[in-house]
Symmetry: C3
Amino acid sequence: MHSNPQLSKNGELQHLLTIEGLPATLLTQILDTAQSFIGVTEREVKKLPLLRGKAIFNLFFEPSTRTRTTFEIAAKRLSADVINLNISTSSQSKGETLLDTIDNLEAMHADMFIVRHAQSGAAHLIAQHVAPNVHVINAGDGRHEHPTQALLDMFTIRHYKREFANLRVAIVGDILHSRVARSQIHALTTLGVPELRVIAPKTLLPAGVENLGVHVYHDMQRGLKDVDVVMMLRLQSERMQGPLLPSAQEFFKYYGLTAEKLAAARPDAIVMHPGPMNRGVEIDSSVADGPRSVILPQVTFGIAVRMAVMSILAGN
Amino acid sequence: MHSNPQLSKNGELQHLLTIEGLPATLLTQILDTAQSFIGVTEREVKKLPLLRGKAIFNLFFEPSTRTRTTFEIAAKRLSADVINLNISTSSQSKGETLLDTIDNLEAMHADMFIVRHAQSGAAHLIAQHVAPNVHVINAGDGRHEHPTQALLDMFTIRHYKREFANLRVAIVGDILHSRVARSQIHALTTLGVPELRVIAPKTLLPAGVENLGVHVYHDMQRGLKDVDVVMMLRLQSERMQGPLLPSAQEFFKYYGLTAEKLAAARPDAIVMHPGPMNRGVEIDSSVADGPRSVILPQVTFGIAVRMAVMSILAGN
Amino acid sequence: MHSNPQLSKNGELQHLLTIEGLPATLLTQILDTAQSFIGVTEREVKKLPLLRGKAIFNLFFEPSTRTRTTFEIAAKRLSADVINLNISTSSQSKGETLLDTIDNLEAMHADMFIVRHAQSGAAHLIAQHVAPNVHVINAGDGRHEHPTQALLDMFTIRHYKREFANLRVAIVGDILHSRVARSQIHALTTLGVPELRVIAPKTLLPAGVENLGVHVYHDMQRGLKDVDVVMMLRLQSERMQGPLLPSAQEFFKYYGLTAEKLAAARPDAIVMHPGPMNRGVEIDSSVADGPRSVILPQVTFGIAVRMAVMSILAGN
């Protein structure tokens, strides 16, 4: 396997598949480009002609209103033509293989695929298959990665904290099943966060997570002690009753973010969540809607970050 | 509760939530603006740049192909970017609350929400929640109101009858469950229709309907006597077998509009229906497709009226 | 019945409903217009303003991601506004009739309807109903016709073989249920292909197929002997276990296109398939992905052909 299939030989981004393996300079280039788009979304007319005439396919093999919508908005702001395809895996299994579907859409002169798929590696598979002028963005693959989410998170942290070099950051919740967490850990490490913690029960931690360069905590009071950034994760509802967790109530008691637990963090700590939130499970409403929450700015920055990724890919 | 949350302090329309409480001058302003758009829809190129770069969200919590489509067409004629979100209440109940969904879409720089929801007051709730630069249009909330339908009906009546001051108007059918009827009654009363009648069986009339300024009839022959305008309502299929009605056939016998019953109205009376029609239940095909039907012009005027509402809101 | 409802009195194309009955000059005009669009899809900015401000409705009463998408892309390349309506026949049966739906969409100033429907003749019915300035394209009706598929097939054949006058062409598979095959047979015959063969088991051939001007073969070796073009058909999965066929495996053994069977054809024969393919049922992957396959170019040409049909209709 190619060490980094998303980079061209001269190091340009061809696809955005993972945060793992991307150099800090490239992450910073994306954040800087996103910064230049922030003004656009606040102008009266929010359109830029950068992707005019480009055909962008939102290929969602898993349902996702929110992520699909942010990509659709970002693409339309860049004047692209957007085609939404929600492909259930059942209809997929009936006939064509995934790569036949891709071949056909590429034959329709697709310029870019935004792919969400339940199987880890699906976006990689597509990226290895398409012609050199076609770009692929991973919008979440199985438990693997969700790179644009991590990038918008980095944008948010940089916006509020200016630099990464002195930060103490904690990621809280279901690390085991979270593609968001994996992407966040790679991004924070690459951008030079000196102290990165994960806080979770043992049953929701992947084996060998320490090897990713994180400190493991099972206790919120200790884990949140003096952190600058608290990054909550979503708990999938199907796991709330499962063998890994006693119950949603129990989870909230020990790992739900309340004002009381948050008091252990630094007074200017920010609170993040990738959404959609389970209020009363991962996070208390008083914190989610409180003065230290930057959850809605995350969404806003997500548009600019996705515009940045799309325009960088289209330019390469 | 604020007496009229849809108006700004200086009386400008911020949201369109109800017809109730809107002054006649404002209704007339909307109809006049719609009139100015009629020419546009007949031009070779039907686009106006008034909403270019604006992001308009069609938020439909109840399925509706027809109303959603007319809003989508109206928005595209004004050069807006339209995002369609069909959100089933089941998926809604799984995770995020309604207001979390709205917060997120607003964080994506939504400029306008078109909302249909099974619960009365949903559009109000959203309007009270959003930032001052975001506008909400109620596209039907529970049994409460459907204001753009009433406005296109007023446009249609004014088109064919010129003024409201001398008209006798009858609304026929399931008044009890109809948000359309409620909006129509408020609009007709506000615009000065001197004689407004409702015709329905007792089981399909709301308690105290007389207090809205209407005359109640249970008999079509008497109720339609010398009216200028007949406004039929749709009978929801789930009610055709219910305890409120003996059967669809029975309903048609007594309250279905036939040429014979229509003979009681004035010779130049117009026949309206908000669609979709149940032919042979509320209305006979000979009347629906007959020379006095203005049912299809209603649809056409609906585009111009929705363009008018959107452009007035965006301008305020 | 009018001999050819899709042509105006002076022979101009008003609707595209069937290939049957269209003169060769008109088919050639469409192919030539499509040729002029090929360059557009390879340009950096792929937009032409020919249909700017036109409202095109994708009316799909049967699900079809692929065909709907190609029409959507073609319409957007021509700068039209596209409204996608996926109407299940169940919701259709609930309320409005098909023609009421059409009347309403027409009242919204639709300029063109792209119609797919399970019932043969549905597009005809709509074309006979709409106003003279509204155009209808049949995107597949029951077992009847799928004219744009046949046109893109003709474009493909002309692209690779230059002319139709000396060709030997074989259509292979489930002729009986295939609207694609019916359209192909009419197109190939009209364009002057001197020898047209169909290869299928007796149970998958319509009665009297010889009257369409084709030679019938039940054996692949003989049927493919010296042909220039092999046109495979899709086998509907619901028929693979039915009384007409022993099994998918059995079908592949006798009628699946393998390299071995293809050896009977001319050395420069091309292999076509309308997609989506059932690999290992109608066609072996080595052939589908092999050097003589033109299956993906078919898809690409399909965009240009649909742009051609739309722009010709809009201009007439």
